[in-house]
Point group: D2
């Protein structure tokens, strides 16, 4: 058991605080002889990096990753490959500005983990959220880049599908659009709308929530496991472990509560490559095991609680007061959660791929 | 790692199939010297037992539990108490009627785990769903009864808050009402409505989904853990591992995506017993750690796929065909998920209580 | 984490006390479609069963195993096979005679776990040693019988190689002899000697220690894992977890401390089937990974502390006193540890077989 | 599960190869508010550091540790303290000289993990043993320094008690002597003898094995757990996971096989502070749980296989050949295993301290 690890055969342990020396992770259990360079990882990190538009925190972090272990040059292929040993990845913290936080050292920000960390540990790292900072998710993205290497033919993509009350139009879903706007939004029109909408939020010093959807294509039928090792149970845990996430759905999700058995169950037919389904309310998972359809998960991100408007709170000594959080924050922290959701999906699937191979082979 | 276990310090391993000899569980890590009898467990099992109204499957199972190990008479107190050793609980299967299932032996029921188990293991236990049967949840309820013994002063209750499109009126929430209707519904009027509504569903041979809400009172601030050991991540996994669950929420859940930072963050004040909050959008959890407010989780249950109306499917040999599932099924399997949700919440909290005590003492 | 489980992909959880209702285990992670009947398991249990000669405890236990879950008839093969679901095994306790133990209820037997269980839990199950009884090892043997099914072509055998000061002559090692004497001794002459020697011990009401050696043939090179997942580290833990074991060796073991680098390192040559070694000081394991040679482990069993001669001790209230343990005990508990050692070796290797397949395939 | 982690509540994950960028570890689960500086850790690392006498490898590594996370200045105490978050420790590799190893790139050194890593992974890091290098143990020592902080009043010390055939005289055991000679030997006379003896070994280009003994004082009765969570099972695994270890003993160890029940069982009396024992054959552990006596473990280290004398081997292509290992090696690698054994004992006890507190409280 470890509070800072997840996965079983593909196991990730992360470390580091927002304003410490470095953040990073150790990825254990990776199969050997997979080509892996820092550039492979950097590509994903760059998608999550803050400061890329006015819609994310202006903290300037290069987020440059170093591979400390677990790879070597393979004389045969001339490539750098994994060795089967633990892959340690480190990202040094550069733009820390601890002074920004001195005012709130003894105050609990409502909606933040300030109070609960203090209640648990008797102290808290007030500098930028410490371990509870969204910065920890960079380590997840780095691990996810390794996970992607493991599964041949699998693609994991995510998109922002709702911001505040504005949901995308699913008929206008275009994966190519995701890379073209600062919101990872697959609906071009909604992306335009979000630009105005979020500027309004930002200028008010407020923040707003969002919903992210992740889709994995190329997962064969049979991965996952019954009961407590369910693929969807592991996805639920993985997504809920992301900062600020308050809900997780698989396939039809909460809508399934409103459906009849006839509406919900995905009928089956034979296609060219075997079994096909006439719909995907299951989100690619039945009984905790993949069906061969795309695996679809969704999660809700709450609005960040670091806002410029004063809120009632208490301090460490139990005195009632008000707080305004200055710092440099994301008006919609859900945006940067998109690559994080992808990474978590990739890690969970890599783990289940290896677990399936362990128990059932092939 | 174990596909049939959950929890760390309070660890539950379940076994058994719908139509096998017995189902049961081993509860490991229970503190010693807690009074525990079979009657304590039976009480919870009786709430989940099928056949108690026309709204649940007519399978007749006494679900009588035996404690095989882990308890002894304490000479001091004259009570039967836990010893700290693993508590094995067994429930023999009585009313199995395997013949009901012979027709579907080679068919995959749409929306069921039939196809995925077969894809994974190369065979499936077609008798009553085998391991994928809702019957497995009896073992969870038994384990939950043990978990409840561990935490002094904690109450875990659940209720059905939505059936199909009909949500309860939260202003009419009455916990006492939950025991008075066959739906575990806290809203008397909606319970009356559900009676007619579900009769209609049942008579049509159809089924419908539901939403369950679980509330734990008496959880102090400080339980849970950061990052991957988050209380909400463990709850998400625990709830999603229940058969037919497709979505999980904590506190405001998906609604949080629509809220502003001002609306969502629960403001703090000082009360008689320390910190209080002016709302509970957080569902009692911030940063993965309990706030001292009620812990609130919610999950969506899909409609059972065992319905009387014909559905298109394929058989094990890849032939397209139709299927009608006769058997004895629940028109709204979400009803019996209510005590199961309670049990999972109790188990997760018991585990985190012990984990917190391990790392931080007190 | 679980105090009553071991293994990762092949995971065994045991339960039950000497004088409770039943003992047993849940074996999780077993691959599907392996032929498995109760008779397969009974065969191994019968080798461990007490009361088979005057050299083991006279407790009369049929030790009849029931498979509660995880198997079904396979229509194709007409055999009962594993399904991939957890296999629960139960052995009811029959010959309990709890009254034998009433005298020692408040006394701590020197060399027993009486005092430490009480120190830990604030109570202890004084009936026959409770959970600390050698009876728990029956569950291990049952799990081991399942483990043996998993690895094609592997043989795991064990023998008693030393009793008190009398070690066998390794030049006279004959595996066939092991089944012919009540000591599992591979040296016919020493077996004859042990008969007299142990009769003397038994008649004096004393007891004696022993050394057991386990050999696994047919383990290919490449199983196991570096560092903390070493095959030998897992074997050490598995063997040390057997009651009364005080030392574990792999290959040359403690003798390796006296060897030079030239003497110890096993030189390598090419044989018909690939790499061969000119000796096996490594015991088939280098760097925690199997070499393809026989895997050889050895463990020392202390003499049982239940003896007829009075020993100085204290009672639960802290009063100094003397104790004589009557009961029905093994003069050399090491004898019955032979099939237990085999079972533990089989379980560890099954686990590593699956773990290797998970990470590296093939 | 993780091949590069150990412990449960106090959990250590190590990474890094002999000739990679850095080695290090992540220590998860450490209680908060313990004073901890890099200097605390450096002290232990310096005891293990190579190149301190002519009896250890001449590789020159400063082994300077950096704390990357998990600590902060505590305003109250003015000290740097743990926060409860994962503590990442990094030691950069400085003196790597990869060229030394180019000759053996395609050869398997007998007695090394070269062949088995290659058999498992299809490649191996030939530079200085890669992950299988003794260098990995620096990370253990660093983790052990953190572990020592957790348990108030506990002392863990180790000594070299045998080199080749020369065992120390236990009547001459002097803990103060351990720091005065380059062998960590508690017997002054034997230390003098070792000096000559090992010079002889070294000059011949040979190597020799050793036995290390670790003693933990100040462990109260009641730590550890029954069955597979036994304190001695975890110690056995921890010690056997150290490179080159081939045997582990607790208390009387293999000698217990030769003892009678009367001789072996430690009699009990009442002392000033409660129960005392008249001997410690148990090594402070009964039934897997601590007795309150010193916890005593011992392990045998084989001679390093990197020797200057030619040995028969094969290469990666299956050609028979001879090998001479030049490099810079330890003539008795057991010497540097002394602080490593201490560290492993400290980590296992810290873990069990927290586990005990979790299940049974204070």
């Amino acid at each position: 058991m470890s509070h800072n690890s997840f996965g079983h055969l593909f196991r990730v342990t992360t470390f580091g605080e927002s304003h410490g020396v470095a953040i990073g992770c150790v990825v254990d259990g990776c199969p050997p002889r997979l080509a892996l360079t820092a550039a492979d990882i950097q590509r994903d990190l760059d998608r999550r990096r803050p400061g890329q538009s006015r819609f994310t925190t202006q903290r300037r972090e290069p987020d440059e990753v170093r591979i400390l272990s677990g790879v070597m040059m393979d004389d045969g292929s001339g490539e750098q490959v994994t060795t089967g040993s633990p892959i340690a990845l480190m990202i040094e913290n550069v733009d820390q500005r601890s002074k920004d936080y001195s005012e709130i050292r003894d105050l609990y920000r409502p909606g933040h983990a300030d109070y609960t960390y203090d209640a648990k540990y008797g102290l808290r790292d007030y500098r930028g959220g410490g371990r509870a900072s969204a910065r920890e998710t960079a380590a997840r993205v780095a691990a996810g880049a390794v996970a992607r290497k493991i599964i041949p033919g699998m693609t994991v993509r995510a998109a922002l599908v709702q911001m505040g009350p504005h949901a995308i139009d699913r008929d206008r879903w275009d994966w190519d659009e995701v890379a073209r706007n600062p919101f990872f939004c697959p609906d071009k029109d909604k992306a335009a709308l979000f630009e105005d909408y979020l500027d309004g939020i930002r200028k008010k010093g407020s923040s707003i929530g969002a919903v992210i959807e992740i889709v994995a294509d190329g997962v064969p039928a049979g991965w996952g496991a019954p009961i407590y090792g369910k693929l969807d149970a592991d996805l639920a845990s993985a997504m809920m472990s992301i900062n600020a996430v308050k809900g997780v759905e698989i396939g039809a999700g909460f809508l399934a509560a409103e459906l009849s058995g006839e509406e919900n169950a995905d009928e089956m037919r034979m296609g060219n490559k075997g079994v096909t389904f006439l719909s995907n309310h299951a989100g690619g998972i039945l009984g905790g095991i993949s069906t061969g359809q795309p695996v679809v998960a969704r999660f809700a991100v709450k609005p960040t609680s670091s806002i410029l408007n004063p809120r009632r709170t208490v301090d460490r000594k139990g005195k009632e007061t008000e707080i305004v959080t200055k710092g440099r924050h994301d008006p919609c922290v859900g945006i940067r959660a998109v690559p994080v959701g992808e990474a978590m999906m990739a890690c969970v699937l890599a783990d289940h791929f290896l677990r399936h191979r362990g128990q059932v082979s092939g």
